[in-house]
């Protein structure tokens, strides 16, 4: 199902700053980056394994296919008026039978991200 991508730009490089200071609103699901897809002695850095919170089986993980994922980290220098930087990617497929999911990023995730929380957004909504 193709939808027009007119309004939303394809590349987002700035961490979204919430304007509403009243109540924080979370529209993303927490996911832990557990490591790269790998065998015992070899790993594929192109494929990141994500453990999405509360997702325990393959049928649940299907909801997240195609959803965009962001790894947000801080750097020292300012870029685009912010010290936060992101690496964007998408959930591409499931992995195993326990709800782990493989995500591919525009640039591969740095290994120091292993164990950190990534944000799995609810868009694009495939309904």
């Amino acid at each position: 199902m193709k939808s027009e991508q007119q309004q939303k730009g394809v590349t987002k490089t700035v961490k979204k700053v919430k304007v509403n200071k009243k109540a924080p609103v979370r529209l993303w699901v927490k996911a832990v980056f557990t490591g790269f897809r790998r065998s015992k002695v070899q790993q594929n850095e192109k494929q990141a394994l994500l453990k999405i919170q509360h997702v325990d089986d393959v049928s649940s993980s299907r909801f997240y296919w195609g959803k965009r994922v962001a790894y947000i980290y801080k750097a020292h220098s300012l870029k685009n008026n912010t010290k936060f930087r992101t690496i964007w990617g998408r959930v591409s497929r499931s992995h195993g039978s326990n709800g782990i999911v493989i995500a591919r990023f525009n640039r591969n995730l740095p290994p120091r991200a292993i164990g950190s929380t990534l944000r799995v957004f609810l868009y694009p909504n495939r309904a």
Binding site: K2, Q6, K8, R26, L27, F63, Y64, N125
Partner: protein, 188 residues
């Protein structure tokens, strides 16, 4: 002198003009994307952007395929807005939009004007960004027109919304994922 032998073959087909024709679409206008389980009057949850989490009312689908939504502005601060279908969760709540006339609003309503584009100029081009007298007047007029259109659409909507219990509060509240919410299990 014997005639020179032709070293290259002449084909049977000659191009009538030398210009290269770039890829030409057979279909002139883009076909608006199919609405998936969404119908006008439905309450949608915006997933991204400044108004993420806000619940808005769908008015119609524009020719470009984007959805035209409104807060209504008085209820949750969301103005008339275009939204992509993929960046929205449809809910089962429906609002009756019989009295609402959004037929005049199309994609041109959202087009950036020259004055708007120039407004954000900085530094070297800042001079160019300063609006002339006429431009300022035109801008003010344009904004007043926008407020009027917003009001005319919202007034009919708000009166319908007030009839349903708690609908106004529902539209004013934002959707958020809590500690135990499982979006894959949620039925909207």
């Amino acid at each position: 002198m014997p005639a020179k032998k032709r070293t290259t073959r002449i084909g049977n087909w000659y191009k009538s003009d030398d210009e290269k024709v770039h890829f030409v679409r057979k279909r002139k206008a883009p076909r608006p994307s199919q609405l998936r389980k969404i119908s006008p009057g439905q309450v949608l949850i915006l997933l991204a952007g400044r108004f993420q989490g806000k619940r808005v009312v769908l008015l119609k689908q524009l020719k470009s395929g984007l959805l035209l939504v409104t807060g209504p502005f008085k209820i949750n601060g969301v103005p008339l807005k275009r939204v992509n279908q993929a960046y929205v969760i449809p809910t089962s709540t429906k609002v009756d939009i019989k009295g609402v006339d959004a037929s005049k609003i199309e994609d041109e309503y959202f087009k950036r004007t020259e004055a708007q584009r120039r407004k954000n100029e900085k530094g070297f081009w800042a001079k160019r960004g300063e609006l002339t007298e006429e431009q300022q007047v035109a801008e003010k007029k344009r904004l007043d027109e926008k407020r009027k259109t917003q009001k005319s659409i919202d007034d009919a909507l708000v009166s319908t919304i007030k009839k349903t219990q708690l609908l106004k509060q529902y539209l004013g509240a934002r959707f958020s994922i809590g500690k135990t919410t499982r979006p894959h299990d949620l039925v909207f």
